[in-house]
């Protein structure tokens, strides 16, 4: 549990770097992890993509992260993933659940289009129930409108 939290903190740095350059920063602090670990995936590949308000379109930054995710999944065939779709707090509960499902499905479709077997990818929506940033302004909302690819060794259940 602690491990995962640390991974997430590192990750926001990676995402910011990724947004700026369009390419995930494969150095960062992921160098401490072996490439075939969840920690490496989260910190170095980048486990999440962000969305515009009410959108599920994948932008340039997002697709480059997903390309890296697909490449990593191609190499690490023992891993499968659950893709979590999230929304910011600026919406109603049910709609945000549907929106999160849409975002998770957009990531799933893209990864499948990049050769990842659909059987290795499941989706879940959390709507606005699991924000990572808690302020009520765009700086936080933009990070909460996300789809997170949670990888784990073994099949999805």
């Amino acid at each position: 549990m602690n491990f995962r939290l640390i991974g997430m903190l590192v990750l926001s740095t990676v995402i910011l770097a990724g947004c700026a350059t369009g390419v995930p920063d494969s150095g960062a602090r992921g160098e401490n992890f072996k490439p075939n670990t969840t920690e490496f995936f989260n910190a170095s590949v980048g486990d999440r993509v962000l969305f515009a308000v009410n959108e599920n379109t994948l932008g340039v930054e997002a697709t480059s992260i997903l390309n890296a995710q697909a490449a990593w999944l191609a190499q690490n065939t023992a891993f499968s993933a659950i893709i979590e779709g999230h929304a910011d707090e600026q919406g109603t509960r049910a709609y945000n659940l549907a929106l999160g499902a849409r975002r998770a499905a957009a990531v799933q479709s893209y990864l499948v289009s990049q050769g990842v077997a659909a059987s290795r990818l499941k989706t879940v929506t959390y709507g606005k129930e699991r924000p990572i940033e808690i302020c009520s302004s765009e700086s936080c909302w933009s990070k909460n409108r996300r789809a997170v690819t949670v990888v784990s060794a073994g099949g999805t259940s």
Partner: protein, 441 residues
């Protein structure tokens, strides 16, 4: 405004129908000016304790009745301190002049007996002071000590009904989500309380995320969404035996459930492959029917009171808007055309209005409109107001309001359909997603 106007007209009719009316000092007058009504003054002197053991209960019952009536915003209590005389004998003739002198238009008298077996007997009478006559029959309720608040609410409902000509809403409950913990690690449990926030208790623990409970029409079951399997799934909780079960064998993720008015069908949203559509599921047998099939989001369905139509939200036109379709699915007509987005539609139990959440320019509102989309009225405005639920008589809405910022928390509020009488429901702790029951039996 229109609805409250109707309601007060009924007040007048029920009082003017009395035979002694013509001899009284003049017509009962209820001012409606600029949407502000003058609440009807009433007096509820201490209920008579018929035996010593009933003394405290008599006091408590009367204060709950007063709180109900005053809380409705339609009535105003003439405080005890201003009252010239009390009622010491429930069956003695009422000295109307004493009540007329303090301008109490309605007088409520009551008596309470505690029986040896723990039962309470509550009697009450309602009088039109100016007409010097009793309004309706005296009523008597018998119940256990645990139910004393319900008995008070029943008295209030009877008073409300006699003075407005409409059913009350006080003897009712609300299921909701009790929330604890910081915004980025929120814990949620299902909970239930009386309509006034009393008797709150948990229905589930917080081991799994739970969302949006909805009462069955008979009040015995609660539909809700739980993540206990890892995915959002609709569950039903039986309040009589506290057993819960997932709803049949629905694939994928399901949420936003709601019962039909006859309790035989459940509407819900099912997400599959990123597309969310509305389905109906029979309570018996689990037969499933897909009601929408657009690639857009269709969710938050709610039946009309006759069960023939469904109001729901969809972003098929690009943004979240409200639509009405036949209960069996088919062509839908859009009803919301104002600026901004509309969600969480709920059909009024009276059938005349739909309540909704509106999002516009970074603000959230609870509002109502007619079923053809006209006469839209926004009743509230804040950073985040969401999820209206109707009182059993369709006169009041509850919803939840979440405050802004890192320490933002949700609280349950109520507001009259006129937009007046906005106030927090006194729930201990934070709550969201209220669902108001029908009147209890």
């Amino acid at each position: 405004m229109r609805n409250i106007g109707t309601c007060l007209a009924l007040v007048l009719i029920s009082l003017t129908a009395l035979p002694l009316w013509a001899q009284s000092t003049g017509p009962l007058k209820i001012e409606i000016t600029e949407g502000v009504i003058e609440p009807m003054p009433f007096a509820a002197p201490a209920f008579v304790a018929e035996n010593t053991a009933a003394r405290q209960m008599a006091e408590d019952l009367a204060s709950v009745v007063v709180a109900d009536l005053v809380g409705s915003g339609i009535f105003r209590e003439i405080p005890r301190a201003a009252q010239i005389s009390g009622i010491s004998n429930f069956d003695a003739p009422v000295q109307f002049s004493d009540w007329k002198a303090i301008n109490a238009q309605a007088l409520i008298t009551g008596a309470v007996t505690m029986r040896g077996n723990g039962q309470i007997v509550v009697k009450f009478r309602l009088f039109d002071v100016f007409a010097q006559a009793q309004l309706g029959e005296g009523l008597q309720f018998v119940g256990t000590q645990d139910d004393w608040r319900r008995m008070a609410h029943k008295v209030s409902d009877a008073v409300y009904a006699r003075l407005t000509g409409e059913p009350g809403y006080f003897d009712s409950r609300v299921v909701y989500v009790a929330e604890t913990g910081p915004k980025n690690a929120r814990r949620k449990r299902l909970a239930i309380m009386d309509y006034d926030g009393a008797n709150a208790r948990d229905l589930t623990d917080d081991s799994a995320l739970v969302l949006a409970p909805r009462f069955s029409p008979d009040g015995n079951k609660v539909l809700y969404t739980s993540y206990e399997t890892g995915l959002p799934r609709v569950f039903v909780l039986n309040l009589k035996n506290m057993r819960r079960k997932a709803l049949s064998e629905l694939p994928g993720m399901t949420f936003a459930p709601r019962y039909s008015p006859d309790g035989k069908t459940i509407l819900l949203s099912l997400s599959s492959g990123g597309n969310t559509d509305i389905y109906s599921v029979k309570v018996r047998g689990g037969k499933r029917t897909r009601l929408t099939s657009a690639p857009s989001i269709e969710t938050a369905p709610s039946y009309s009171p006759d069960g023939n139509q469904i109001v729901f939200e969809s972003d098929r036109a690009g943004s979240q808007q409200l639509y009405v379709m036949p209960a069996g699915g088919g062509e839908a007509r859009r009803i919301s055309f104002g600026s901004g987005r509309y969600g969480t539609p709920v059909w009024s139990p009276r059938g005349d209005l739909v309540a909704f959440t509106k999002m516009n320019k970074g603000r959230f509102h609870i509002g109502v409109m007619r079923l053809d989309g006209t006469e839209e009225r926004l009743l509230t405005a804040s950073f985040l107001d969401e999820g209206p639920t109707w009182s059993p008589n369709g006169r009041v809405l509850m919803f939840f309001r979440e405050t802004r910022g890192a320490k933002g928390v949700p609280s349950i509020y109520s507001v009259d359909v006129s937009g007046r009488n906005l106030k927090p429901v006194p729930v201990s702790g934070n709550g969201s997603d209220p669902s108001w029951s029908t009147l209890l039996k």
